[in-house]
């Protein structure tokens, strides 16, 4: 049948194209998925070296800049004589107090320009946790001058830099959590699908059961059980572990389904008759056949993890300050009074949506491209 569809194959390149080559060709045709890939790659790049992308020290408090509104970034500097150069700058801001309420009012002083520098020098941070550097993508020429591209929070901390820093935890929770789920999922799903019979029956019921449970109340109860005085790293791993305790079931189901359908494939039987060992059958013959599906499922599971962490931290049961994650940042936006004064506190939510949309596009495209032979 496929011959009629594909036509005579004369294309040399196609004839020797491996599975991954075919998947990549199919994936490339999917524009939204490609966009998702670029955005995801960029976000993880930020998560890898947040210090480089941040402009201010994300933890530095600044009493004089509480609820400082976002400053707009200008790129074209027009001189008095009308000539212009490309040089990023922001206007300096002036703090006044409302005489009655004593509330802070920030106004832009358009006469004063604070020039910014690409690859300039700013606060000191550790790159990859290995060496210290002061190199930043964008830094004020005057290093003591804070820049609030996305405004500042209650304590005068830079929202932009905090979002950048938060990417590290929020995005890695997704990745680490999914890897934990995957280990559980492959173990349980694989055993279930490979051996079948009674083991499969039990595993199936367990998977169904976990899938039928609402996750939030269980996460809440588990997270509430964590002592509040645990160190941040331990807390981080426990939260990730909690999320994967329910996340494995979906992946286990995918793995099991693939295993079951592959087990009856004739080429697997052929490998067994060739004399291949069980290990070789699984890793050489079966695994490549569903690796692409697993990768797609993982990609689609990451955004769910990110959303879960965000929700938990938002409710105050996930990561605790001073850890910075997008969910922790959104806690600041919890009461109506603070978001009414400082709507920019919603911006971390935008980061969440961007990351989740990008990962979903990517995963969706991967899933469509995952089986290049059944088209």
């Amino acid at each position: 049948m496929s011959e009629a569809v594909l036509g005579p194959i004369e294309n040399k390149q196609l004839a020797v194209a491996s599975q991954w080559q075919l998947v990549w060709w199919a994936f490339k045709r999917h524009h939204l998925a490609m966009a998702g890939l670029y955005i995801t790659a960029f976000l993880y790049l930020i998560a890898l070296a947040p210090g480089f992308f941040a402009t201010n020290d994300p933890s530095a408090q600044n009493g004089r800049a509480a609820y400082h509104p976002p400053q707009s970034l200008h790129f074209i500097d027009t001189a008095a004589d009308g000539s212009w150069t490309i040089k990023p700058y922001i206007h300096a801001s002036v703090l006044k107090r409302d005489p009655q309420t004593l509330a802070a009012i920030f106004t832009e002083d358009t006469s004063k320009k604070i020039y910014l520098q690409f690859l300039g020098s700013g606060y000191e941070y550790e790159l990859f946790g290995l060496f210290k550097t002061r190199l930043h993508l964008l830094a004020a020429e005057n290093t003591t001058q804070p820049i609030f591209i996305f405004g500042a929070d209650r304590l005068g901390r830079c929202v932009y830099s905090r979002i950048i820093q938060g990417a590290q935890i929020s995005l890695s929770v997704g990745l680490v959590g999914v890897l934990l789920s995957l280990t559980l999922g492959i173990l349980i799903g694989g055993v279930s699908g490979y051996y079948g019979g009674r083991i499969d029956f039990v595993a199936q019921r367990a998977i169904e059961f976990v899938l039928a449970l609402p996750t939030i109340p269980i996460w809440l109860a588990l997270a509430a059980a964590l002592p509040h005085d645990w160190p941040a790293v331990l807390n981080y791993f426990m939260i990730t572990l909690i999320l994967s305790l329910t996340g494995w079931a979906q992946l286990a189901r995918v793995v099991r389904g693939r295993f079951l359908s592959l087990r009856t494939e004739e080429f697997v039987m052929a490998a067994r008759l060739d004399g291949a060992s069980e290990g070789r059958i699984i890793f050489r013959h079966m695994l490549p056949s569903f690796a692409s599906h697993i990768i797609a499922s993982i990609t689609l599971a990451i955004p769910a993890m990110i959303l879960a962490e965000t929700s938990l931290s938002f409710l105050g049961l996930g990561l605790q300050p001073p850890s910075i994650s997008w969910g922790v940042l959104l806690r600041e936006a919890q009461n109506i009074r603070s978001i009414a004064t400082a709507p920019w506190l919603f911006i971390p939510g935008g980061a969440v949506v961007l990351a989740v949309v990008a990962l979903n596009f990517l995963g969706d495209g991967l899933r469509d491209a995952a089986d290049p032979y059944n088209k």
Binding site: A15, E266, F267, A270, D274, G275, S289
Partner: protein
């Protein structure tokens, strides 16, 4: 609708002229139907015949404008002549419009290849048949029900009054096709288009369905367009034949001319390859007679295989001589595939023994052999699979696939492995330069050659071939069988050749065992079983096979086997 003066005598009911149907695809356009013309006469049967990809099915679907998206009719005329003298050009109608919908199911009805998937699984058969009656004949519910029961009776479905409320999955394949036919006949159409209606069925069921269509055709005076790839069926039922190849008409004429005086080369080749399978292979005629006095290489005694409570193989005893080809023939569900797999202990038989004589003369009972011994024996007993797509790992190159048994058995590696793969590919007639290619770059026949190369890589002594040619077009079948027989001579192989196709068995096998419901009902030499069968089931099976000769129609004389 227009009234046009017709010069013919009024016997033409459908006139297809210069029909062109295209499928736009990413890399251009597939010309599925390319300038096809033919006429269909009242009450007659036209067979459209061709191999896969010939465009025969698209031609049929174009008539009702139900070509799957993105296919569409580009040009041409399909003129329907009604009995009242009016004519309609179906190709000119809007495919979603009312006019064509009134033709569908009423003037021209259609039945399809897969009766299971062509009927809705969640509606009762009655619901699906009554729908046509209510739509075209405006019957009320009670009338439609009465008529529906009558129709089910006409297509010989037992207890039609109960069957009407049942679902399709409660019927067997043959019964489902009867339901399809009842649905198609509901409005007494003038034309019935049957798109490979018997391909998915066993030959005895096929004979029943063909009988039924023929009887209904006589009763109702329908014209039938019958699409098939089976030249035997064509010879049995056709008045006229249209031979198609890659979207074009190769030859169009009366059935006797097509079979006995074909003008076109392709037709000649097609008929030739069918007739070839009516006889013993030339290679076998040249061979010296088989030495039947030697000890068998494999002896099966009282083998049984249960799946749960279902007895798939029931007390089977067989033997295979060195250098012999033993055919196993049977219909679906006869247990032949299960039996073949038991020989390599893919399934663990539940009873009996399989004694295998190794090259050094020692005997092994494969049913009870331990893992290590079994692994050694599997080097000597190999398998060729039916599905040339599913049996090759799409993620490995041809060289990896063929080399896998050599590699995992630590027989050779590196340069030596490479050389051996090249040698094997040459033996099965594949260009060794293609060894870095993946299976998707090969045609069905080439893939089956890869499967054969993998099977002979370990220099086996016995090869179990499970329907090794049934996925291939008829023109490729004899080539594949010849290749297998050449290899047999060269490597001194014994084959256990499993097939439902008696032609292939006759061409290839020395002896035949006939299986029916898990049991071997008859064993004998191929000549004896094919020409003078003893068991009533074998007689029924053979008599149901249509012969590729319109002058020797025999199906109406067939035996039926009743337990």
């Amino acid at each position: 609708m227009s009234k046009t003066a017709q010069t013919d005598d009024g016997s033409v009911i459908l006139d297809v002229r210069n029909l062109v149907t295209h499928f736009p695809v990413r890399s251009g356009v597939v010309k599925a139907v390319d300038d096809v013309s033919f006429t269909l006469h009242r009450g007659k049967t036209l067979c459209i015949v061709g191999e896969s990809g010939s465009g025969k099915s698209v031609t049929a679907r174009s008539i009702l404008q139900i070509v799957d998206a993105p296919g569409r009719i580009v040009s041409g005329e399909i003129i329907l002549h009604r009995e009242d003298g009016t004519t309609t050009d179906l190709a000119g109608l809007n495919p979603r419009g009312k006019a064509i919908r009134q033709v569908r199911g009423r003037d021209i009805a259609m039945i399809f290849q897969e009766p299971m998937s062509s009927l809705s699984p969640v509606h009762t058969v009655g619901e699906q048949i009554m729908e046509v009656l209510r739509l075209h004949l405006k019957m009320d519910k009670a009338q439609a029900r009465t008529r529906c029961i009558e129709l089910l009776g006409q297509v010989e479905i037992p207890k039609p009054a109960e069957a009407i409320d049942r679902y399709t999955f409660e019927f067997s394949g043959g019964m489902r096709q009867r339901v399809m036919i009842a649905m198609a006949l509901a409005c007494n159409p003038h034309i019935l288009i049957a798109d490979e209606p018997t391909t998915a069925l066993d030959v005895t069921t096929q004979a029943e369905i063909i009988d039924l269509i023929r009887r209904l055709q006589n009763d109702h005076g329908m014209a039938v367009i019958f699409i098939t790839h089976d030249m035997g069926v064509v010879a049995e039922i056709a008045d006229d034949v249209l031979v198609m190849f890659r979207g074009k008409v190769m030859e169009h004429g009366p059935v006797d001319q097509i079979f006995h005086a074909p003008k076109d080369d392709y037709t000649r080749m097609l008929i030739g390859s069918v007739l070839k399978l009516e006889e013993k292979a030339e290679i076998r005629l040249k061979r010296p007679p088989l030495d039947t006095t030697v000890e068998p290489v494999m002896t099966v005694k009282n083998l049984s295989m249960h799946f749960g409570s279902n007895l798939a193989v029931n007390d089977v005893s067989l033997h295979v001589l060195p250098g012999e080809t033993l055919g196993i023939v049977g219909e679906s569900g006869s247990g032949k595939t299960t039996m073949g797999r038991c020989l390599l202990r893919v399934y663990q038989p539940t009873a009996g023994e399989i004694s295998y004589r190794r090259a050094d003369g020692s005997m092994v009972d494969l049913v009870r052999a331990d893992e290590g011994l079994l692994k050694d024996c599997r080097k000597e007993i190999r398998m060729i699979f039916q599905d040339p797509v599913g049996s090759l790992n799409p993620r490995m190159t041809v060289s990896q696939i063929i080399g896998e048994p050599l590699l995992v058995n630590h027989l050779c590696m590196g340069q030596e492995l490479e050389e051996r793969v090249v040698d094997l590919m040459e033996q099965v007639g594949l260009n060794p330069d293609w060894r870095e290619r993946y299976p998707h770059a090969f045609s069905g026949g080439q893939r089956q050659r890869i499967g054969i190369a993998r099977a002979i890589a370990l220099n086996p002594r016995v090869v179990v071939a499970d329907e090794a040619t049934s996925a291939l077009d008829v023109s490729l079948r004899s080539q594949m069988l010849d290749l297998m027989m050449n290899l047999q001579d060269k490597l001194n192989l014994s084959y256990v050749f499993i097939s439902h196709d008696i032609g292939v068995i006759r061409y290839m096998c020395d002896r035949v065992a006939v299986m029916y419901k898990g049991k071997v009902v008859e064993t004998g030499t191929a000549d004896q079983v094919c020409n003078a069968p003893e068991h009533p089931y074998t007689q029924a099976l053979l008599s149901a096979i249509p012969r590729p000769d319109p002058r020797a129609r025999s199906m109406h004389k067939r035996h039926r086997y009743k337990v």
